[in-house]
């Protein structure tokens, strides 16, 4: 499926300034696997080396947190929009 990954401004330097990246993948996890190849610096901002999404990051498929769906196994419909959202946390 062809989908798009939408990045917060703080991550765009890790994608040559782009805010939206096209991805081809069947699931959210596969989309991130693809990032590990094409944008490795960006991918490791999102997941650790064991593939676990960093704890203060939320990933939304359209308007739903993927933790309320099937997590990284959430399937991607054609044209899906994935949003990376830094959680409100820290001090």
């Amino acid at each position: 499926m062809t989908a798009s990954l939408h990045l917060p401004a703080v991550l765009r330097p890790s994608a040559d300034g782009q805010g939206i990246l096209p991805v081809k993948a069947a699931t959210v996890g596969q989309a991130l696997d693809g990032l590990a190849v094409s944008w490795p610096q960006l991918e490791r901002r999102l997941r650790d080396e064991q593939g676990v999404v960093r704890r203060h990051i939320q990933i939304y498929l359209e308007d739903t947190d993927i933790t309320d769906l099937s997590g990284l196994a959430t399937p991607l419909p054609e044209g899906a929009r994935i949003y990376i959202i830094p959680a409100i946390s820290g001090g």
Partner: protein, 365 residues
């Protein structure tokens, strides 16, 4: 132009202060690696232009090890993660706590100490690192526990003359050393007390909470250690340790640093106690020995002597290699002080910073 570079790692990023060789005036550059905590600083002076390192962890975006080849004016990281655990370990990097260059005879060798407890080694000047599996797979490893700062390998002391010997310290695992380049490791904690254990078990083989170890190249077998309860010296590269606390207001603290030109001179910043991690009498006092720990004296000139509540963390005390040597420390209330007279007097280098986690300094051509 000759200059001195002072790296300041804070909870909100890294700063570079610059001075000419006189080191009397400092210019502080804007914060970089913003919103990351920078515990691990390193300066590789074996290069024509020293390479600087900053182990930075963003609460949102994770850890990495950045380097600078323009003396801190810009920072970069490789495309691939410079420090990462192999997939089969099941571990994931939390923080780079320490960056330590190898010997002059090993020009591209760099060590990194990590959380969770691990040692990494780079053979390409610090761009890519590999896990030192001999330590990570040590039979004691499952029994190492996190100290208050985390499960960190925070100290790396290369033996100054033998490239196969290396000593590391972990919280809380204790001191370990290798004599074969990292394949095999043995604990080296004999004589160090673990005061929190039952009375008949206070000298275990490992598990002590060492906070920092420092040595001098001209005395390769002598080590000074600040522990969680106890200041110690070893004269045999860790075979045996004995307490050296005469003149100290307490035996708790985090940093210890040996003077770069005077092997019998070293510095501490004692705190009241484990249960009261504040300066004794609420005074800002560095303690100095000039006799390798036989006695200690407080250094106060130029430092706040009342109502003082800040502390100095394990890597926030350092020296440069100048003559006279510069001695520097940073505090958790965001101040950095320096001394050019072996600690007799101190000057404020910077204030109103985020809390200082680490400092490192070098004179560069």
């Amino acid at each position: 132009m000759n200059e001195t570079v002072l790296l300041i790692g804070t909870s909100k990023g890294v700063l570079v202060a610059r001075s000419d060789r006189a080191r009397s005036r400092w210019e502080l550059e804007p914060l970089q690696l913003v919103m990351s905590s920078v515990y691990g600083l390193g300066i590789d002076r074996r290069r024509a232009t020293p390479r600087l390192f900053a182990g930075a962890t963003s609460e949102h975006w994770g850890p990495s090890l950045f380097h600078s080849d323009d003396l801190g004016r810009s920072w970069a990281e490789p495309e691939a993660a410079p420090v990462a655990f192999p997939a089969d370990t099941g571990a994931a990097l939390i923080r780079v706590w320490q960056v330590e260059p190898g010997l002059e005879s090993q020009p591209d060798l760099i060590y990194a100490g990590a959380e969770p407890h691990a040692l990494f080694r780079s053979r390409d000047g610090g761009l890519t690192f590999e896990l030192v599996e001999g330590l990570f797979n040590h039979p004691h490893q499952p029994q190492w526990v996190p100290g208050g700062g985390g499960a960190c390998l925070h100290t790396i002391v290369p033996h100054p003359t033998d490239p196969d010997r290396l000593l590391v310290a972990l919280s809380a695992g204790g001191v370990y050393r290798t004599a074969d380049g990292g394949a095999n490791w043995e604990p080296a904690n004999r004589g160090i007390q673990a005061q929190w254990l039952p009375e008949d078990q206070r000298f275990p083989e490992f598990g002590q909470c060492v906070h920092k170890v420092s040595s001098h190249p001209s005395r390769p077998e002598r080590l000074l250690a600040q522990n969680h309860f106890g200041v110690y010296r070893s004269d045999d590269y860790g075979d045996n340790w004995e307490a050296i606390e005469n003149g100290l207001p307490s035996n708790f603290g985090f940093p210890v640093v040996v003077h770069p030109h005077q092997p019998d001179t070293a510095y501490l910043f004692p705190l009241q106690a484990d249960s009261e991690r504040l300066p004794p009498d609420r005074r800002c006092r560095v303690y100095r020995t000039r006799d390798a720990g036989q006695s200690w004296e407080p250094l106060t000139r130029g430092l706040p002597q009342s109502g003082y509540h800040a502390i100095v963390l394990r890597d926030a005390l350092c020296t440069d290699q100048g003559d006279p040597a510069g001695i520097y420390f940073g505090t958790r209330d965001g101040e950095v002080y320096s001394s050019l007279d072996d600690g007799d007097s101190w000057q404020l280098v910077a204030s109103h910073l985020p809390d200082v986690l680490a400092v490192r300094a070098a004179l560069v051509a």
